[in-house]
């Protein structure tokens, strides 16, 4: 506790003198006056995400193309299953990993492949050897083409990042306009009992560390597929 008190003491002493207000060269204040950029909603500054459902789908599709995410808007769970079976066939999946949950349980069990279920615990080497991780999500964000996954309802921390292909199963009502709305969904659902990990995933894993040239699949999944119906 001693070091904590020392640091907090230094902070309080330092803050006795007021600092110049942001963007106002020299004028100092202890609090910000009303009517600054903080007033109103942040949507007035940020990139748009679309107002109607159709617009939001278009935004999500455009962002997905840029990010090299495979985004499929489908009519039913049956179509999603058919699509998944096709990918499994094309990529010659031998074993997939998933978790307990309404969407994954309904779809993955009918795929006819051996399944590793992470719910309740798993061996990390076995997970690493799986060809795909199939998860549910909290929300799809139209503004940025992102998927929000959590440790609680997407099968833990590693399932969505360790296998080489991450497949997200989502319902159309999970599509939201922007990041603010996405965080609101998480807040409303979990209130004070947040999952220990909340991740906003935007495209497959990537790096530009060698000559600023884009390479997919740096450490996480090389492919990200989103099946939404």
């Amino acid at each position: 506790m001693r070091e904590r008190d020392k640091i907090m003491g230094r902070i309080r002493a330092a803050l006795r003198s007021p600092a110049p207000r942001p963007g106002a060269h020299g004028a100092v204040a202890h609090t910000l006056p009303a009517g600054t950029a903080s007033a109103g909603s942040i949507q007035q500054w940020l990139p748009p995400g679309g107002e109607t459902f159709a617009e939001q789908v278009e935004h999500f599709r455009a962002r997905s193309t840029e990010l090299k995410t495979d985004f499929q808007m489908l009519a039913s769970a049956e179509e999603a299953l058919a699509k998944l079976a096709k990918i499994a066939d094309a990529e010659k999946w031998r074993r997939v990993a998933t978790h307990q949950g309404e969407l994954p349980t309904a779809i993955v069990s009918r795929l006819g492949l051996p399944v590793l279920n992470t719910t309740g615990g798993y061996d990390v080497h076995e997970l690493e050897a799986c060809d795909a991780g199939i998860t549910a999500c909290e929300a799809l964000v139209a503004q940025t083409g992102s998927v929000i996954v959590t440790s609680r309802d997407s099968g833990g921390r590693a399932l969505s990042v360790l296998p080489p292909h991450h497949v997200v199963l989502a319902r159309r009502e999970q599509l939201v306009r922007d990041l603010s709305a996405g965080f609101d969904r998480v807040r409303t659902k979990y209130a004070a009992n947040y999952p220990s990990m909340i991740s906003v995933v935007t495209g497959p894993s990537r790096t530009g560390d060698i000559e600023r040239i884009l390479v997919l699949g740096a450490h996480g999944p090389k492919k990200l597929t989103i099946l939404c119906w």
Partner: protein, 450 residues
């Protein structure tokens, strides 16, 4: 680096690509300037009420089973981390990119204590193999070509040479996968600390931080006390701004919030999570109200990318953890004004950094203030004497003319003492040529015009 044209070309072409991408992303905002002002105000609120926000952050973290440690100095932070590693009897450690860890020279300390630490970010992994510090706070290996990296991997990892960035990335991926699965401890940094919910947010593209925070049994996160943001919803602004200003992306691939170790109803994650809060002179910078906004920095690197000095001298020339304009502003506060005041002189005060900063730090004025403070704290006798003599000469035309004639007459003799202690222009001529004085002054040319 200034004289190494190949190196300069490499850095400038990388930054050229960055600029084009960044401009396209800025244009997607409804109003980038409004977003900057809001970001500046949000960070201003966080820093100017830092005590309240930190207390909330820590209370929320502790309530969910996280151990919070406070480190006043770099040495204390190293001791805390070493203590955890010893207690766990850890053999190998995996680390995701953290500038704060560079600041406290963590890897050196861990290696000296006999622990193996592996950097998992691709760029950091490369510079670690070269035993070099990161070249840039966001792009650690931007000074290297694929050929150099291929040679390095062949030598250090025994891989076959290749000129494909994709194959090089896969070589690193394979080497590091084994490390994730066998490491006892994962160490990360953090980009933001959310006071309202007691969470840290980590931004990355590769997925290495996600894996570092998922697989090992113990997780350690080191962050500066200034990383605070008041609310979870603030991230809806800061994540896109960091990605846009930092790398010209709409959003970085993984932005992940951590609020505790593995919870009872979860299937994986570390059993223990230690959060180390670092001061290391940040409270001194906080006490300087004039430059307090330097603590708003979100380490995006935008000021480095646009700085004409950085673009020509390169990241390693600074000899500091944080390079570029923000490094020149804060290093004198972190490591001593008199030892690091020269950084503030290596600036044309063009203001490109201030213009690029997503949280509106008044960077180029702070460089000017550092110069003023350094001169006020320790005035240079010779500098003052020099300017006094110059004033006498420049104010008296006859003396000036005499000085001109003497200068022209004596300059050829300078060759005899060039660079030695007798040379009055030694500070310059040690490493450079002194251009000859013009044979005729402007006044003489004007008189002799046809």
């Amino acid at each position: 680096m200034a004289a190494d044209l190949r190196h300069r070309g490499l850095v400038q072409s990388a930054l050229g690509k960055y600029e084009a991408a960044r401009d396209a992303r800025k244009a997607a905002f409804h109003d980038w300037q409004g977003a900057r002002q809001l970001a500046a105000e949000t960070k201003w609120e966080a820093i100017n009420h830092l005590d309240e926000h930190l207390e909330s952050f820590v209370a929320k973290l502790e309530a969910r089973g996280t151990k919070v440690h406070w480190a006043g100095t770099a040495e204390q932070a190293r001791e805390i981390i070493l203590g955890i590693i010893r207690e766990k009897n850890a053999r190998s450690i995996i680390k995701s990119k953290a500038m704060t860890a560079e600041e406290i020279h963590l890897n050196d300390a861990l290696e000296k204590a006999g622990h193996e630490v592996v950097e998992s970010d691709l760029g950091e992994f490369i510079v670690q193999l070269r035993h070099e510090p990161p070249y840039h706070i966001v792009f650690p290996a931007m000074h290297l070509t694929r050929g150099e990296i291929s040679e390095l991997f062949a030598k250090e990892l025994g891989s076959a040479p290749t000129d494909s960035p994709e194959e090089l990335t896969m070589i690193a991926r394979r080497a590091l996968r084994k490390k994730y699965l066998s490491s006892d401890i994962g160490i990360t940094g953090a980009n933001f600390a959310i006071a309202e919910t007691g969470m840290v947010s980590i931004t990355e593209n590769e997925g290495n931080a996600r894996l570092t925070a998922a697989v090992p049994k113990t997780m350690i996160t080191l962050l500066g006390i200034e990383k605070i943001l008041p609310k979870l919803s603030d991230l809806a602004l800061f994540l896109p701004m960091l990605a846009t200003a930092g790398a010209g992306q709409a959003l970085t691939c993984y932005n992940t919030l951590y609020g505790g170790p593995k919870q009872p109803d979860e299937c994986d994650g570390p059993r223990e999570w230690h959060v180390v809060l670092l001061d290391n002179h940040r409270t001194e910078l906080l006490a300087d109200a004039e430059q307090r906004d330097a603590l708003h920095c979100i380490r995006c690197g935008a000021c480095l990318n646009v700085c004409p000095v950085f673009r020509n001298v390169g990241g390693h020339t600074y000899g500091t953890t944080y390079s570029g304009p923000i490094g020149s502003v804060i290093t004198p506060h972190l490591r001593g004004l008199q030892d690091w005041k020269h950084l503030s002189n290596a600036s044309s005060l063009c203001g490109a950094c201030t213009e690029a900063c997503p949280v509106k730090i008044d960077l180029h004025h702070h460089l000017l203030q550092n110069r003023r403070n350094a001169a006020a704290q320790k005035p240079s006798f010779f500098e003052r004497l020099g300017y006094r003599i110059f004033a006498v000469v420049a104010n008296r035309p006859r003396v000036y003319r005499l000085a001109k004639v003497l200068g022209r007459g004596l300059q050829p003799l300078l060759v005899l003492v060039k660079g030695s202690r007798l040379d009055p222009a030694r500070a310059w001529t040690q490493t450079r040529e002194l251009p000859p004085l013009a044979p005729k002054s402007f006044k003489e040319l004007w008189k002799g015009r046809p």
